[in-house]
Symmetry: D2
Subunit: 350 residues, 4 copies
């Protein structure tokens, strides 16, 4: 089968591989739609180290092609979505309420990390009964592709932010995860959402997803702007959706004492991420910092699909570009260059 792979740091291309085989609890998926993620780009740039012939991609929708002997809930032909994170549900971390950390830090992240990813003609899914979800008829494949990571991760950012009903929230950066964090804050009952962003098209989408006000950091320090608009108080919660120390520092500064900083950004650089000592209240201002990795699992996927099914969330405005599978290299380059106003490139398998 054909797969789009990483061949060492900085190198990508197509390769021929054997179709994977399912173990007793696994399934093999035949993709129909996939999305390219910025973390695929990070991976190729070396974020998780040197890798050879590793199939890329972790956001995918498709049909079941084959299931292992112990799989009871799915059968070939079923239209399904699989989470970007596919935990080992019996692991100690999962028993402890942290399935995304199963086996190790970030251990639930298997696609294009521990094993081949989803930019391929066939995809291997572990613990299929627990990690696949059927797609309701009313939900399209494209829509469903967004629950794998963007909606699950972005909404998690808002869930972790402990937003009081009617509370104030600032979401730092409005890429696809930030946009879904903005929508997530709206779904958590926020009363006033500040979207920190300077790109016009992303500002527009942020408003569409529930932002009440834009904080354009090109027009001045975003923390100062947020403080000014909140009578000097700061916000109840701030969500870091970029992955830089500077942005996390701004989040810490932007929340009021007793507020929560929710990190969803992947911090890919530097030895340290810094907490600004004074703005952090010398470690005593009850500004907690909560982190997480995209929740996976059938139940999570089904609940996110219900939000699409009921019309509460439409993720498709984030699809800015479309490519056939054989042009995944172009989709990938676009994601790398961040040109042409790209938010998410959609891949279609024939």
């Amino acid at each position: 089968m054909r797969a789009f792979v990483m061949n060492g740091i900085g190198e990508t291309g197509f390769a021929e591989k054997d179709r994977p085989e399912p173990g007793p609890t696994d399934a093999i998926l035949r993709p129909t739609k996939a999305l390219v993620c910025t973390s695929d780009v990070h991976t190729v740039h070396g974020a998780i180290g040197e890798r050879e012939n590793l199939t890329l991609g972790h956001e995918v929708v498709g049909t079941v092609d084959e299931v292992g002997d112990s799989v009871t809930d799915f059968a070939p032909g079923d239209r399904v979505v699989v989470g970007a994170i596919t935990p080992d549900w019996g692991s100690a971390a999962a028993q402890d309420g942290h399935p995304s950390q199963s086996g190790a830090a970030l251990g639930g992240w298997k696609f294009a990390n521990e094993k081949d990813g989803v930019f391929a003609e066939y995809v291997h899914v572990n613990e299929a009964d627990a990690n696949l979800a059927p797609i309701p008829e009313s939900v399209t494949d494209e829509e469903a592709a967004y629950v794998t990571d963007m909606m699950s991760t972005g909404f998690m950012g808002a869930e972790h932010a402990d937003i009081p009903v009617g509370g104030t929230v600032a979401v730092f950066a409005q890429g696809p995860v930030g946009l879904m964090a903005t929508k997530g804050a709206d779904l958590q009952g926020a009363g006033r959402i500040f979207a920190v962003e300077t790109v016009q098209s992303r500002q527009d989408l942020a408003k569409q997803y529930g932002a009440d006000e834009i904080v354009d950091f090109a027009e001045g320090d975003p923390v100062e702007q947020i403080r000014e608009r909140t009578d000097g108080e700061g916000v109840d919660a701030a969500i870091e959706a970029l992955g830089s120390s500077e942005t996390l520092e701004q989040c810490v500064a932007a929340v009021k004492p007793g507020g929560t900083v929710s990190n969803v950004g992947y911090h890919g650089e530097g030895e340290y991420v810094n907490l600004p000592r004074e703005d952090w209240g010398v470690g005593m201002a009850e500004k907690d910092i909560v982190t997480g990795l995209c929740p996976g699992g059938r139940l999570r996927l089904e609940r996110l699909l219900a939000l699409i099914d009921s019309g509460r969330v439409d993720p498709t405005p984030m699809t800015t570009h479309e490519f056939a599978f054989e042009n995944t290299d172009e989709a990938f380059e676009l994601m790398e260059s961040k040109e042409d106003g790209v938010i998410k490139p959609l891949i279609t398998f024939e």
Copy 2:
């Protein structure tokens, strides 16, 4: 001053009273708008026992007329709203995170219970700095009147229900509190909301406030209907917004194992409220029962006002009738009879 009072069980009428005086931390409010609540009717019917010359009403908006010496944040002329519940913020219960229970069970409920209520030309407010909130310019007095109780109580019902993002919720009864519980479930990120109600106009409002499906109990056992529509599973959360043992039993039966029953109804009758032993999973199915009394306090009020201010909530469709203060008796009778499709009668002070 003129006040609309309870004169013993079953008796109401207007009376002349002295204008109240503020203590050092108190304020005197001059009402502009008020709403009649079903619990006022319960009170007159004897729910809290015999009372003489007790001014009724607890949902009010107005202007500050006078403040005590220690009040720092408000001044005469300020347009403000006061919560139906006005806790003693230094009490042990408030320190314990239960301000509505300050001093005793339901002890934060002072208006028309421990002291005179708000259907009067002047209203006494305890701990004014903590229990009043300024009203934003963009919010009308009528809108603001809904944050005192209906929005605060109904939303609490949803907050207590521990609704997962995209989860399923059933809200039992769509009176004004139930409608706000429905909206509250929507604001908590529910993916599918069942509104249990048989009256057409309330069903219509429920849909307007976020209900995805109506469960009409005139068409069969609501629990059976909910189970059928959820593949036999039941819902993640059920909200009791009526105050009857039968409805609570249905809530217990309607939630799945691990689900939450959130009670907001006032249970006014009978020696016991019953838990159905088997549907409750013999006390081991992790079907928790959470209860609460309307949260008060300035911060809560401000956050609820922000939801109106930002356009997320419009409570005014619940205003079905309007009366001048001198006709409060008619408003009260209407609320008692529940005729003419009444949901909330609005009182206007000249």
Copy 3:
């Protein structure tokens, strides 16, 4: 192999059965020690309906005899303990944080319910890697047998009770689960623990496990006694460890507004469990009722073993009687009669 079974309601006896076979993720255990539980008695009396040739028992320790092909963490000869509850960790309920409810209400309870129990020469364990735990050298088999249910269930009662550090707790009934709830309250930082019990030997054990004061219900209404000793306030938390409506009512009455009632008792009788309407604060006093079924899983077992290993908990004073496996019928009769001051009978396999 030999097994002690239920043969219809009210009938028990020994039977010969085939040794169970492991599926790919299962293990077969050879018991060394087991404990008899009152719920075994309930089962024989018909609590879960008619059963034929069902091996009884669910509290067991032993050595691994055989493992399935996919089991990675255990091998024949390992000294292990298995939880009374053995969840399906990939189930929707487990993904939702309720593993004991996997598949159905109480669905994690498989031993002597969905399948044969542990009073047999060989025992089948599902998802062995997730449901077995190795026993530290310093912990005896007898001690380890208590983590399967008594410690896990009793401590859960205290964990669910949301006990503030230094808070007041009343534990209703001091059978083995109640005693462990008392110890659990002590481990949660309670400042004052009332043990409600009338039997002298249980009162003595309760004190040994951390009770500060005994409330003897033979000497008067326990709720009145608790109120008197708390200046009329009631307690922060009450734990129901008997399983009767009357006791649950007392718990509701004994907690202060804002307090928590934690149910661990199995409610085996009657159509309803009753909440006393007024003492429950008409559904508005923030007296929540939390329920649960014994948590299982390797992580839980390991943590409970750590409490024994570190000397914090010694469960063996609860062993009042010992029997050889071939006399399990006598142990069972003793548990049924509750004579001779029995708390827990220990079964030894040769």
Copy 4:
């Protein structure tokens, strides 16, 4: 009256001051015992900036000398303790569940910060009904002095650490707050507590307060030692009780994915407190960082006193030195030098 004051950075001495007067809700306390705290030393060294004629000290026990007109629960002659933190209970932060942040970051900290402290013949207490607690007869003044800060702060460190029953905890630094965090972890049901400390006398006290194992950082990297003793896994929770970036980094590294870092240390130096990017799991390993300031309030104090009253906690082994009030300067110098094995110096007023 006589007071021990700060006279600019680095300067301390005795001064004559006017006795404070109570407002309507305040009380005046006449101290009997007080404790010197390392944060008093930080203050004198400039941690909160330049101050002139500021009475030092915030841990005190005494008798009520006078109360304001609105105080209802206390009267002259009552033996009472006042929290180091005396919140404004009606403030927005307190309504939001963060009373220690009332009015501003760390705003509940008034003694020797916003107003005169407690090393004086008379002490002013705001909101007396909410911030004083009566001392049970069985509790000595010396014992009670420890609930004001050391027990409240240290136990908070453990409460924030979200310790599972039987879980593993590492407490970094065994000064008086660290010792109480160790005891707090024990009171939260930890199964295995590592106390990180190199001073023998503090190691001994740590064991007395519940530590199972000592990690002596003079014998090697404490993180490596903790990982080795936990099979490479790390601990469920780590408590920072020193206030240095290096220690916080170690806490982040020592916890397993999904674990919690609870900060109680005052971070007094540097522009940043650093999170080690990789050990922090690139912001995705669910290693949350929780912070707090000593909880105050009557209810908290009463609950901590109950732990002493019931014999669960004996703080007096931390009293290493005793001084008369007129020698507070010597006590202060000792705390500054940290010589002679000092943990807490006790001040006695005649």
